[in-house]
Every structure is written in C-alpha cells, then in structure tokens.
C-alpha cells in the first residue's frame, strides 16, 4: 500500500504526459491522442483509488492519516524553496472525485466532440487541465499549489476559448482569465506575506510547516499596523484568490460567460473541479483562517467567508430563475452552490464545506453532461424556450437529469445533495454571529428547487416548441453511460453522508481535526429544508408545469406576474453593465490618460531629439563633404597620376630594362672614377 503514497506524484504526471504526447501527435493521430488521454486518466483514477484506500488504513488513534514528501526545488543563498506532495483525507477525496468525474467526462467527450475536427487538441487541453488540477490537490506547498492554480487558469482559458473562431468564446476566455487574475493578485500577496512571516510555504513539514502548531502560535501573536491579526490578513488575501476562482459575488461575472466553451468543459471545469479549487484552498489553509477565533466568536476570515457565501448563494439562485440558456442556468446554479460551500466552510469547517463540494461535483457534472446530451440531441440548440417534450425522445437523459435535478433541489432521503446541503444549513443554524445566513440559505434552497423545476418543465415536459427539438434523439451509449454512473454515485453517496451515519464527514474531519458535533436540532433543520425544497418544486410546477412554459417571444408566467423583477433578474442584476461602466470604463479612461500623457511627453522628446539630430547631421555632412571626401579624392588622384607616370618605365621590353641597367652601371663607374680621382 505504501506504493501509492510514494508514487503519488504519478497521478498528476500521467495526464501531463498524455497532454504533452498528445500535443506532439499530428492531425492524423487524433485517435491515439484521445486513447492516451483516457488511458492516463484511468491510470490516475486507479492510483487515486489506491491512495484513498491507503488513507482509510491509517490508525485512528494517532490522528488522521497524513503522508508528505518534500524536496528542495532550488536554493538561493541560505534560503531553499521547497515543494512536495501531501496525502491526507482531504486530498484523497478530491483525488478520487477529480479522476473519477474526469474519466467519465473524458468518455462523454469522445461522443460529444466526435464531429469536431480538433478533437485531439481538445483532449490535450483536457489532460493538461486534469494534470494541473490534480497538482493543486496534491501539493504540500502553497507555492506549488499556486503554480498549479495558475496552470488550471491557463487550461481553463484554452478550453473556454476552444472555439476561438466565435468572438463570444474568445471574449469569454479573456474575461475568465482577467477576472480570476484580480483574485490571484490577493493570493500572491498573501502567499508572499505568509512566506515572510513563517519562512516556509510548506503546509506540513514535521512540525516546521506553515500550517503546524509552531508557525500558527507564532502568527497568532502578531498584529498588523491596523490592529488586525496577521493570520487574518493573510487568510483574507488568500480568500481573494479563492473568491476569484470559485466565482464568489464580486468576481463571479466570468463563470456564466465561461459556458461558451464546449459542454464537457463546463462540466469538468466550471462545475466539478476548477471552481471547487477555491473552496479546496480555503479548506486546506483552514487552520490559518480559523486562528484567533473562539467557538462563540469565529475568526474574521470565517465570518467574511460565510457572509460572502450567503450573498453569492442567494444572488446565483435568483439570477438563475430568469435565464433561458440551459447551460447558463446551470452556471448560475453553480455560483449559488459555491456560495453554499463557502458558507459551510465558514460556519461549519472543512468537513461540511468539502462534503457539499464532493456531492455537488458529482451531481453538477451529471447535470452538465445531461445538458450536453440535450444540446447534442437538439442539434446545438441551447435555448430552453425552443426545447420541450424531450422526456419521451431522450428517456435515459431525462431520468438521469431528474436525479441530478432532485439532488440539486434537495429532495430528501436518497439524494446526496439533500444531506450535504442539510449539513450546511445545520452548521448555519448553530452559527453564533447571526441567523441571517441560515435564512438566506433556506430561501436559496427554495429558489433552487424553483428554477430547477422551471428548467425541467421547459426542457423535458410539454410539447416541442421548435424544429430543433422535434427530431431530437437519444445520445449514443458512450455519452449515456457516464450519465448513469454519475447518477448512481449521486444516489449512492447519500449512504455515507447522512447525519445519522456521517462517515464521509468524519473521514474528512480527521483531516483538520474538527469533529462534527452530535446533531442536535437535526430534525428541525431537516424538516425546514425539506419544506423549502418541496415548496420550491410545487411553486415551480404551479408556474411552469402543465404546458405553461412559453416559447420564444411570449412572456413567460413569472414575467407576466412580476415584470420588473423579472427584468432585473434576466439582466443578472446589471452586474456586467456595472462593471462595464465602472471598472472597464475606468481602465479605459486610465489607459487614455496614460496615452495622452505619453503623447505630450513623447512630443517634447521627439522635437528635441529631431533638433539635435538634424544639427548633428549637418555637422556630419560638412565633415564628410569637405574633410573626408576632398582629401581622399585628392590623395587618390595623386596616387593615380604617379602610378601612370611610373608605369611608363615598365613597357615590358627586357632590353629597355637592360639599357637602364647599363646606363646605371656607366653612371656608377663614372661616379666612382670621379670620387677616386687622384
């Protein structure tokens, strides 16, 4: 079993190799590239399963299983930068989830992207993404985590903009990249600060890591200049990064636009894994975030997380109500559920947040793949108003989609989403600061059930409302098989996630030392959340069921009842417009100012430079003409003339030379005679 721990690095390296080899293979070997990617993913999945089993074997008496291996990346002077990998229940769960969902999504993509000419490149990007994401989960160093984090961002950029010939896709890719960068700036600053304070970025290092007791006690004593604890400041900065990646409210705008990418990408990146990276990050640095808090008064970072999460949850759910694009609805629902996870993390600690992350990953991947199947069947149509009546024509998709929908809506008993959401609500109910997040959570649960019912009614019930929906057909086996498997897991997970048998929660709790309390008041919360979800579904059916879902151009039932509210929701609370008129316009104005300044200053420089250079060139010209040219030409003329004269003597006749010699001899003799005269 130790094999799996020692060779943990293989898990991200396998997909990375597949991506590299896939990139090298040519256009004609696309099938090989696909095979490689899937094989690598299956291999990573098996290794992850081994690693997961290994964490189960850890003796409970000495605390949770934790294996880490560190190595020095490079040294600079006395400082050595270390990286490493880490296996504990938290990363083991994430590993298994990512590789399992990833494998299914890879399989689904072979069907969904079958008609795309660049499918090889697509799989290469997918593998790169999987490798980076596995790196995030495995790394035992905040630095390595950050590197993989940025790689995830890059892969996401490439995949969202995969159909780069569509302007909307290219713009969405840019937007996603830039928006998450804003959050990453906070991450980077927080990381550097943490490194400066504790001198290490390793999470666990036999007592010397930055998440271990010695570093934490050191941190808790320090205050920033404003009186805020250093640990609070650092964890808030890290939260900025998490908020960017996980689409929390001020930075959520990129996530819905990211749906321009192919649907499997939406499932893999924007539902199951990447957006969860932010939640995972906060769960990983939870010991840091919780510093300085007491049970009665949680740390500031946790309070911020809870409030932001509550706002995000409500906002996402409200916006989803008025969207008409099947994937956009799911995207806003993801935003909303990410808010739930943050709330759970803030109020209940990593087990609660991570539990919802895991269950959500499965049922949201299921929903996205189901949506992909619907889009595939409807010939690329994404507008739910143009669908309808697909229940009969796509029975398998309908059944599995219904499972996902009920898990998301929180229908009780057999759906894992119900239990994980319940755990969050329970934690919120006991939150000592305020009951408002609890109420917001309940309202969100109701709205969630409402908009999912609306979507189901539009897509699967009633009659077909356009030519696209009419010839719809069930997707091939390779696409429905992942749906069935995901649906099975969605149901199956609830066996280990109920408050009566909270195995998964306790397993996760081992990771951070936060054991969930014995559920008191469980029944009240269970009852309320059941009520909320059933009320949402009933309300949704009252509004949209029975053929009341309207086609394009016809105001829909909610719009008729509350036209102004509907308009605000349909326009997504005008967030994009707000950013366009403030942040974007501000940036452009600043750019204009900078350009103008540049222009003015540049003009001055240009005039001076022009004057100087023309004066210089005049001097140079004069020197050239009068000094260099004239003297050189004269010298040349002289040489030529003398050469011409001298060459006369050399007429090529030997006897003339001889004559000159003889004359010379005679003159010599005469001269000698003159000198030797008596």
């Amino acid at each position: 079993m130790e094999f799996f721990a020692r060779h943990l690095w293989l898990i991200p390296v396998l997909p990375l190799l597949a991506a590299g080899l896939g990139a090298l293979l040519g256009q004609s070997r696309q099938r090989t590239a696909i095979g490689l990617s899937i094989a690598a993913m299956v291999g990573a999945c098996l290794l992850s399963a081994g690693a997961f089993l290994l964490t189960l074997t850890g003796p409970a008496s000495v605390g949770p299983y934790r294996y880490h291996h560190n190595l020095t990346w490079f040294e600079s002077g006395t400082a050595a930068v270390q990286i490493g990998w880490l296996l504990d229940p938290l990363s083991a769960c994430m590993l298994l989830m990512i590789t399992f969902v990833g494998t299914l999504i890879f399989l689904f993509s072979t069907g969904y992207m079958a008609h795309d000419a660049r499918i090889g490149r697509f799989f290469c990007f997918l593998s790169l993404f999987a490798a980076a994401m596995l790196g995030v989960v495995l790394s035992n160093s905040l630095l390595l985590l950050f590197v993989c984090w940025e790689l995830v961002g890059l892969a996401s950029y490439l995949l969202i903009g995969f159909w780069y010939d569509r302007p909307a896709a290219a713009a969405a890719a840019r937007k996603a990249f830039l928006t998450t960068r804003i959050g990453d700036l906070g991450f980077l600053v927080g990381m550097l600060w943490l490194s400066a304070e504790t001198g290490t970025l390793l999470f666990y290092d036999n007592g010397n890591g930055c998440l271990e007791a010695s570093a934490l006690t050191q941190l808790v004593a320090r205050l920033t200049t404003t009186g805020m604890g250093v640990s609070t400041a650092i964890s808030l900065l890290l939260f900025c990064g998490a908020a960017g990646k996980s689409g929390q409210v001020p930075l959520h705008v990129w996530l819905p636009d990211a749906m321009e990418g192919p649907t499997p990408v939406s499932a893999l990146i924007h539902a199951a894994t990447m957006v969860a990276a932010g939640v995972f990050l906060m769960a990983r640095v939870f010991p840091l975030a919780t510093l300085g808090g007491t049970p009665e008064h949680p740390a500031v970072t946790l309070q911020v997380m809870t409030w932001i999460g509550a706002l995000t949850a409500l906002f996402g759910a409200l916006t989803a109500v008025a969207q008409t694009d099947i994937k956009r609805i799911l995207a806003y629902s993801t935003v909303s559920q990410l808010g739930f996870m943050m709330m759970g993390l803030g109020a209940g600690g990593p087990p609660v947040g991570m539990l919802h992350l895991l269950t959500h990953a499965f049922f949201k991947a299921l929903l996205f793949l189901g949506a992909g199947s619907v889009i595939h069947g409807c010939d690329g149509e994404q507008d739910i108003r143009k669908m309808g009546g697909l229940r009969a024509r796509m029975p398998l998709t309908f059944a599995t989609y219904a499972v996902g929908m009920m898990a998301l809506s929180g229908v009780p008993l057999v759906f894992s989403g119900f239990w994980s959401k319940d755990a969050i609500l329970h934690a919120l109910e006991e939150w000592p600061i305020s009951k408002v997040p609890f109420l917001l959570g309940l309202v969100t649960a109701l709205i969630t059930a409402f908009y999912m019912t609306r979507q189901m009614a539009y897509v699967f019930f009633g009659s077909d409302r356009s030519a696209h929906a009419h010839p719809a057909h069930e997707s091939p086996r390779i696409m429905t098989l992942p749906l069935i498997l995901l649906a099975a897991v969605t149901v199956g997970l609830s066996a280990v996630a109920t408050p009566f048998r909270p195995w998964l929660e306790e397993f996760l709790a081992g990771a951070s030392g936060h054991s969930p309390e014995i559920p008191s008041g469980t029944w009240m919360v269970l009852g309320l959340s059941t009520l909320a979800s059933l009320a949402g579904i009933t309300l949704g059916w009252r509004f949209y069921g029975g053929g009341k879902a309207a086609g394009v151009g016809v105001p829909e039932p909610l719009e008729l009842r509350f036209p102004r509210l509907y308009r605000i929701l349909a326009n997504r609370f005008y967030f994009d417009e707000l950013y366009a008129s403030t942040a974007v316009r501000g940036t452009i104005a600043a750019a204009w100012m900078a350009a103008g300044f540049d222009h003015a200053l540049g003009g001055l420089y240009r005039d001076v430079a022009a004057l100087l250079s023309s004066a210089g060139s005049w001097v140079a010209r004069m020197t050239d003409q009068w000094v260099i040219n004239t003297s050189f030409d004269d010298g040349c003329d002289g040489l030529r003339t003398s050469g011409r004269l001298a060459s006369r003597a050399h007429d090529g006749k030997p006897q003339h030379y001889l004559r000159a010699l003889a004359v010379g001899v005679v003159l010599l003799v005469l001269g000698l005679a003159w000198i030797a005269r008596p």
Partner: protein, 103 residues
C-alpha cells in the same frame, strides 16, 4: 704596362662586348650568350686580382670563380627553360615582341 692592367683591359673589353650584344641583339638566345660573356669578364677579374694580388697562395679567387660558374650554369638552365616556354606560348624568340609584362 703591368700584367694586371692587361688582364683588366681584356676583361673590360669582354664585358663591353657582352653588354653591347645584350642591348643590341633581338634574339633572346644571343642575349643570353652575351650575358654569359659579361659573367666571364667578371670571372676574369676575380682571377686577375687573385693572381697578382698580395696572397696568390690562398686560392680564394678560383674558389669564387668556381661558385660563379656553377651559379651561371643554373642561371643558364633557367634562362633557356624560360625562353623555351616563351617560345611555345608566343611562337617567337624576338625580345621586342614579348611585352606582356609592361606595367
């Protein structure tokens, strides 16, 4: 008249004849022969100064002459080879026709 002076006069006559031939004749071979005459005039001078000099026993005069004859033989060989080569190329041995070397 001393014997040395007679010898010197003979050598001077020989040299003048050679010089005249070299300057006047057009035939390259005759010019070569005239040059040999001048050379031998110089050799005669060597021998005369040795024979009537202060040390007739030292044999340095004949030694110089022997060297000069050897060098003259080599020079004659080179000169003849040049003349043959020039003849082959220009089909002439008239010196005034060979003026390709003019500067």
């Amino acid at each position: 008249m001393s014997p040395l002076l007679l010898h010197l006069l003979l050598a001077a006559a020989l040299f003048s004849i050679g010089l005249g031939g070299a300057l006047i004749r057009r035939n390259a071979i005759v010019v070569l022969i005239s040059i040999e005459l001048m050379l031998n005039a110089a050799n005669l001078n060597f021998l005369a100064f040795w024979r009537y000099g202060p040390e007739p026993e030292a044999l340095n005069g004949p030694l110089f002459v022997l060297f000069a004859i050897a060098v003259a033989a080599a020079e004659a060989a080179v000169g003849l080879a040049l003349i043959i080569a020039i003849y082959r190329r220009y089909q002439t041995h008239q010196l005034e026709d060979i003026s390709r070397l003019k500067g």
